[in-house]
Subunit: 217 residues, 2 copies
């Protein structure tokens, strides 16, 4: 008879509802993308009345922003794991180039492996999310995907393959490449075979590295 469960949990107060809402949001975003994280849906998953969320977030958009922040941290951690698993060594210059390529692979790789969370993390305006541009735009100091990119560029500079004053434009070009690549493979070429996708990533990263390390007039 499944009584209409007047309360799914033992206590009236939840304990840490804010964190639970974000976790449920991550869960929904993973399978359904940003669109799937709704106020009623998330509160239902936690087992709480819809309006309970308003005690912790002034509006749904703010909840989504918090979920997006968490998704960015998760993405950075996945990238970290990937980067730790591949050891680049040898000639410093080539190692630095290889490292940047690995960062790119990690970025796009996460986008392809977790499209929902990737869109949640980097979806931008149409999803109602503002992705902070500068480091420090997020309020805590846990690493974000941008951290790995800057690390890679620093290594290129240290190896003498990139001029320090070109860092700004290098960030632009690199980020544009990996992000554009992710969106393309996700939205435009979803049914391309995985091998072909990987080849496209490698090709585009080759072009990027070649362009970055080529001395310009």
């Amino acid at each position: 008879m499944a009584e209409k469960r007047p309360r799914a949990r033992a206590t009236y107060h939840h304990g840490d509802l804010r964190a639970a809402l974000i976790a449920a949001g991550i869960d929904r975003a993973r399978t359904g993308g940003p669109q799937a994280v709704g106020l009623r849906e998330v509160t239902r998953a936690v087992g709480v009345a819809p309006n309970s969320a308003y005690g912790h977030f002034p509006t749904l958009t703010e909840l989504k922003r918090a979920v997006a922040r968490e998704a960015r941290v998760a993405m950075a951690e996945a990238m970290s794991a990937h980067l730790d698993s591949v050891a680049v060594s040898g000639h410093p210059g080539e190692a630095a180039e290889a490292y940047l390529r690995e960062v790119g692979r990690a970025y796009v790789g996460y986008a392809l492996a977790e499209p929902g969370l990737f869109r949640m993390a980097m979806g931008g305006d149409p999803t109602g999310i503002r992705v902070p541009a500068a480091p420090g735009g997020d309020d805590d100091d846990r690493p974000r995907p941008r951290f790995h990119l800057e690390r890679a560029l620093d290594r290129l500079i240290a190896a003498g393959r990139l001029r320090r004053e070109d860092t700004g434009r290098a960030v632009m070009a690199s980020w544009a490449t990996v992000h554009g690549l992710s969106i393309m493979l996700l939205d435009l070429l979803p049914q391309l075979p995985a091998a072909a996708k990987q080849a496209a990533v490698d090709d585009a990263l080759d072009v990027l590295v070649a362009g970055l390390t080529r001395s310009r007039p």
Copy 2:
């Protein structure tokens, strides 16, 4: 006293409701992006009952797809106008490179000038739109943004700056760069001064062209 307008138009039948709905969709998308084109909103703008749209589109998503197609055509036309306005001449190789740069400027320029329509045209999955990947994915033969890109790459090949067998990867790298650049400037760096944005575009396009035309092992 504005009677509640039982019928805003003279005739019961509209005449060309399908086209009118798409036009109204373009109008809403221009100012509010893909989110702003809703079924009730669009039909209201046309002066028609909400469900009238179902005679022409099986679902709202299909209407949006049609609007997105139209937005892509509009984008290609704007790019055409830009490309016609700048005359590139001189040494064939450098002219071809300059032409590719202009195509990139036209792409990003449109994204910055008409963010709503750009998102409608190229928004991709989170907006519920599938952007056709291959030429011919759109059913008519009006030019799309991709057309200009391929034209530019053809000129590079003709000028001997790009190998024909590298076309595929060149499309990837170019599209990723311009699209990623657009998203970045729109979502991540919205309040960057226009001049700085233009500089970022030029820098990233420099990197792209350098990478594309550099012979690889």
